[in-house]
């Protein structure tokens, strides 16, 4: 029982961090119908920025988010403007896969040149602390990370629900033609949506660097996880991504702790397959088109 409880705690805290990463991924798909294969690379890039800010200037990883978030937002807008905007509308779904993968490889290459391929991690001094509650260990940094994810997701929700930009994004998701007729610049919304998606990678990257050792190639594992979370949750649904991330976090953790770690990732894919057989659009895919 103790073992299961500890595994659930670990899974929930890990799931929260993945929810943050995957929310940006699914937002970009919702707005632009673009599968952004560079989201994992954006997370790793943010982890490196956090690493440099911490080792070079002593900036705490959680404070670094104030710097990395606007930087990643700018990068996201720039990437959209430079490589996605020129794509013809009818081809954007397929071509964006190649283009964003190229962006991911470009980011990886630049990071390998700048930082080499050695593993790095951000060590502010509190990364290993934990609280003991009823015999269970709760990692401080994971709890902070979970809290940060909740705050960022809430901010994302407020932006989408309470701002003109959010309204424009939702309108574009629901009906791009009508939105355009009502004066919404779909290109501008797409650029800002892509920027917003990349900005979520900034906070996620800071947390990722605290929790795991990383190198420029870490984005391959990350993107495969993010894609499966997004597909399970329903492509385009931020709420679905959060639920799917929790299922992945808790499911993997319980299987690893109670059965065998070799099956933990496989189990998630079994769940994914089962859900897709019953609901081909994912858990929240069907109504997500208009429910960002």
């Amino acid at each position: 029982m103790q073992l299961a409880a500890q595994a659930i705690i670990l899974g929930v805290l890990t799931g929260g961090v993945y929810a943050l990463m995957a929310s940006g991924q699914t937002l970009i798909f919702g707005v632009m119908k673009v599968v952004n294969l560079a989201q994992g690379a954006f997370v790793v890039l943010s982890a490196y920025l956090t690493f440099s800010l911490f080792t070079g200037f002593g900036v705490d990883p959680f404070l670094a988010i104030l710097i990395t978030t606007p930087a990643m937002f700018g990068l996201g807008v720039a990437v959209h403007w430079l490589v996605l905007r020129p794509l013809k509308h009818e081809d954007v779904g397929q071509l964006s896969l190649l283009v964003t993968f190229a962006v991911a490889l470009g980011v990886e290459g630049v990071l390998a040149l700048a930082y080499e391929t050695t593993y790095r991690s951000v060590q502010p001094g509190y990364e290993n602390r934990s609280w003991t509650v009823a015999g269970l260990q709760i990692s401080e940094v994971r709890l902070y990370a979970f809290g940060l994810s909740a705050v960022m997701l809430a901010a994302l929700y407020l932006i989408l629900e309470r701002t003109r930009l959010g309204m424009a994004i939702r309108a574009t998701v629901q009906n791009p033609t009508s939105a355009r007729l009502l004066g919404v610049s779909s290109e501008r919304v797409a650029a800002l949506g892509f920027g917003l998606g990349a900005a979520t990678a900034a906070a996620a990257g800071s947390v990722y660097g605290l929790l795991y050792p990383f190198n420029p190639g870490s984005h391959y594992d990350l993107i495969s996880r993010l894609l499966t979370i997004v597909v399970l949750g329903g492509m385009g649904s931020v709420g679905g991504a959060v639920v799917a991330a929790m299922i992945m976090g808790v499911g993997s953790s319980i299987v690893a702790a109670l059965a065998s770690p070799i099956w933990s990732d496989f189990t998630f894919f079994v769940v994914l397959l089962a859900v897709l057989l019953i609901r081909p659009r994912g858990l929240f895919g069907a109504r997500a088109r208009g429910a960002l």
């Binding site: 073992l3 670990l10 390998a112 593993y119 260990q137 994971r142 594992d221 690893a256 770690p261």
Partner: protein, 421 residues
Amino acid sequence: MAKLQSHKCWDKRLRNRRGTAAAALLVAGVTLSGCASSPGSSPSSDSTPLKIGISLSLTGDFADPGKAAQRGYDLWATEVNKRGGVLGRQVELKIVDDTSSPDQVVTNYQNLITGDKVDLVFGPFSSLLTIPASRVAKRYGYAFIEPAGGGPKVFDQHLDNIFFVQPAPVVKGGDVFADYILSLPADQRPKTAAYPKLDDPFAAPIADNVKQRFEAAGIRTVYDETYAAETADMGPIVTKVAAAKPDVVVAGTQIEDSYAEVKAMIQQKFNPKWLFMSNGASSPADFPDKVGYANTAGIFSSGDWYPDSPIAGTKEFIAAYAAKYGGNGNAIDNTSAEAFASGTLVELVAAKTGKADNATIIQTLHSGTWPTLVGNLSWNADGAPNGSYLLVQWIDGRLRTVYPPDTAQHPPLTPKPQWAG
């Protein structure tokens, strides 16, 4: 090169027969003395550079260790040239990039041997590249002294030209820890053991070998699970290990999972009496940086070279390295030392036989024991080293040899101190 030299001599002898008797006698005398010099006379007879071809991963997945190997090879060449070279011949390295690709490495050695006509070759980085490269070398009769291909499949090829420049095959990395534990009086040995293992040919077999010996000695297995290379989170694995309450944890790790495992143990306040990690923990350059110096205390690993190694030549190597590349001993990757030791073997063979050709190197290295920076080396017929690694332990922020007793710098620190947090 031996073949090329003998061909040259043979050609000269043929030409000499066509001249006048007097000239033939005179020239033949000079030529023969020149030819005779290569099998074991004065080193000054051949002043052409000794060209050594090496393919290394200077880009791609193995770029960092590839560059570490390059530094080791270059340093050896610099040092040996300061001493007058090998048999009076200055060493000239030709290093080409294989981009960490097993296909490119084959092309590179083919070109080095047939195009550049190098005299000798040294090995690339990793077993993945060493296997195809060693076959090319074998085809042309080249010795294949290699510092970084120690996986079982390298030796399963049964090639007589391979010499792995580490004290033991990689999968035997934990045997010295088993030796140490089983040397303890029965009542002081651990009663239970856990084996969390990465699904990797250079990690899991190390723990499996230890487990086999522990179980034979009556140490009960309470956890034995393999995790996938994609496992990002070691938390749940450590949760289950901790719940099994083992006295000793033998972790079959590579690099990043060793860091993650230690961090998860600290966060879950799980501190076994003995903790052995097959890889990751043996790097003075990276391990303390990733887990914190204070948290390294008492962790065991094994290795062949580290800055405080008791093996002769270590201090000189560090000084030469620092003079050439800057930094201190902690910044040196053991791959650099292993590459350096590869060159030492050529020097030793040349000093013993007066020759530095491939046939002589292959024949000579197959007998005797060869003292290098990474230990006294000898090999079986397949190129697998016969020795064992040193058991090292983190004590006061430094790696110290703690077993076997004849090379130990410090008694083993047990039980493992508590995590610093």
